[in-house]
């Protein structure tokens, strides 16, 4: 429920003359709460939210009360998608535990169903808190996955309380490696792929338990600041593909591998406009070199960087329009990549 609060006293810290009823909060969190910048800068009564159903009304400076914890909302995570600028995700606030001082990310229940178009194909996509909670449970203690736990709020919403991953988005890390592609390929890629293989094995482990990641993208892998291992985040998407339940995960892994090998994903028009490649590379491309799904990106990377070995390029070609053979399982993808890495380096 959202506590309306009754005006009782003036809080000297709040800007303006705002009457704040502190009595709705337990005594022991008041010193932290009153002094926190998120509350000091407020011009309204902070709410105590034990029912998180109406997450759009849980704002910066409000307190989420779940699992006996008092979690002050101090910000929101952001995400860009389908070419749209990064947007704050109001159902995924950043929080500060008023008792322990721990910082977490909280994911509130947000059921949504929508259709995504991949090329001309439509796939129905579901946001499923239950499925994310299952993955978190299964992956507890596994460094390849973000950690946390799920708890029910006052009215039974499945809230996920997550540890902040101490790392940086994989794509942002990859952009910083090497002066150019050749240097990246020679000096950095072997290590990048070995770390990626561990992450791929982690996805295969999920599948062996009947679970999927659901939203495999290069910005859903974080690189740990301390030891550089890859850590998957965001497991709340699900798909309904009864005959190929793991196809979207495989599709995502192919896209991530394309990015890792190319240090970017190439589209034909961008290649044409790039002075490094231009017409001479563009003219060599044909339909079979493009992505199997969507035909938007170039999967035959050897046509851009001829030094990419066959063993790696052949894996990419499994995801190309010209392929005759597709991966059925992540294990097959992993084994080919593992073999290629061992053979080349």
């Amino acid at each position: 429920m959202l506590w309306p609060g009754t005006a009782k006293d003036l809080h000297p810290g709040l800007s303006g003359n705002v009457m704040v009823d502190w009595s709705i909060f337990p005594e022991h969190i008041l010193p932290e709460l009153k002094n926190h910048v998120a509350v000091r800068s407020m011009r309204r009564q902070p709410k105590l939210c034990a029912d998180t159903s109406d997450f759009v009304n849980i704002d910066y400076g409000d307190i989420i009360h779940v699992d006996g914890r008092y979690l002050l909302v101090v910000g929101y995570t952001r995400e860009g998608r389908f070419g749209v600028e990064e947007q704050p995700k109001q159902w995924v606030p950043r929080v500060y535990d008023l008792e322990t001082g721990e910082r977490n990310i909280v994911k509130l229940v947000f059921h949504e169903t929508y259709t995504i178009k991949l090329g001309g194909l439509k796939v129905t996509c579901y946001r499923s808190p239950e499925k994310e909670a299952q993955v978190i449970e299964l992956a507890r203690g596994n460094a390849s996955f973000m950690q946390g736990y799920a708890a029910l709020d006052e009215v039974g919403n499945l809230v996920r309380i997550l540890e902040v991953v101490n790392g940086k988005r994989l794509d942002k890390v990859i952009y910083t490696l090497g002066e150019n592609h050749l240097e990246y390929y020679e000096k950095c890629l072997p290590d990048v792929l070995r770390r990626f293989l561990v992450a791929v094995r982690a996805i295969a482990m999920l599948h062996s338990h009947g679970l999927k990641h659901g939203d495999i993208r290069r910005d859903h892998i974080f690189v740990d600041r301390e030891d550089g291992h890859f850590c998957w985040i965001d497991f709340d998407y699900d798909f309904y593909l009864p005959e190929r339940p793991y196809a979207m995960d495989l599709f995502g892994l192919g896209n991530v591998l394309l990015f890792l090998l190319g240090k970017q994903a190439f589209r034909p028009n961008a290649v044409l406009k790039d002075p490094e490649f231009g017409e001479k590379v563009f003219a060599r491309l044909n339909e079979n070199d493009l992505a199997l799904i969507g035909q938007d990106r170039i999967f035959n990377l050897q046509k851009i960087y001829p030094y990419i070995p066959d063993a790696l390029n052949d894996i990419l070609l499994h995801f190309s329009y010209g392929t005759e053979v597709m991966y059925d399982t992540v294990d097959e993808f992993h084994d080919d990549l593992h073999r290629a890495v061992e053979q080349i380096w």
């Binding site: 991949l118 194909l121 579901y126 593909l241 009864p242 190929r244 495989l250 599709f251 199997l292």
Partner: protein
Amino acid sequence: MRNWQKILLAIDGSETSERAVRYVSKIAPLIENVEICILNVYPEPPPDYYSQGGRLDTYKIMREERAEKMLTDAAAILTNAGIAEDCLSRRISMAEGRTISQVVLEVQAEGDYGTVVTGKRGVSKAEEFLFGSISNALARHSKRFTSWIVG
């Protein structure tokens, strides 16, 4: 091929699956000691089914009613072609934690069917990657039985 006259006919109510039934109705009367199991395997409910208040028993009843109708229609085509009713059996199954083709293969192995028949819709490679193809899966995994894939 052992038991080739034991036919597992997997149907899904589509036009191509009806073509498979009609194909079997032409061939089967010519086979001595033919046995045909008409099978429908349906998928689990979609992920949002339960969060919208759906119940598994309601879903199963709905799918099984639909499957009964499919099986009855297929049986009518076969008996009209001269196949005796006692040569036919019917089976309906939900693919729980498995794909539809996996269940068809399990039923084949369990019943030792020497022939598995299914319809084939034309799908692009991209569709096959995302949505799969039961006929392709059967063709790929057919060991110790023959697949008839009717296009």
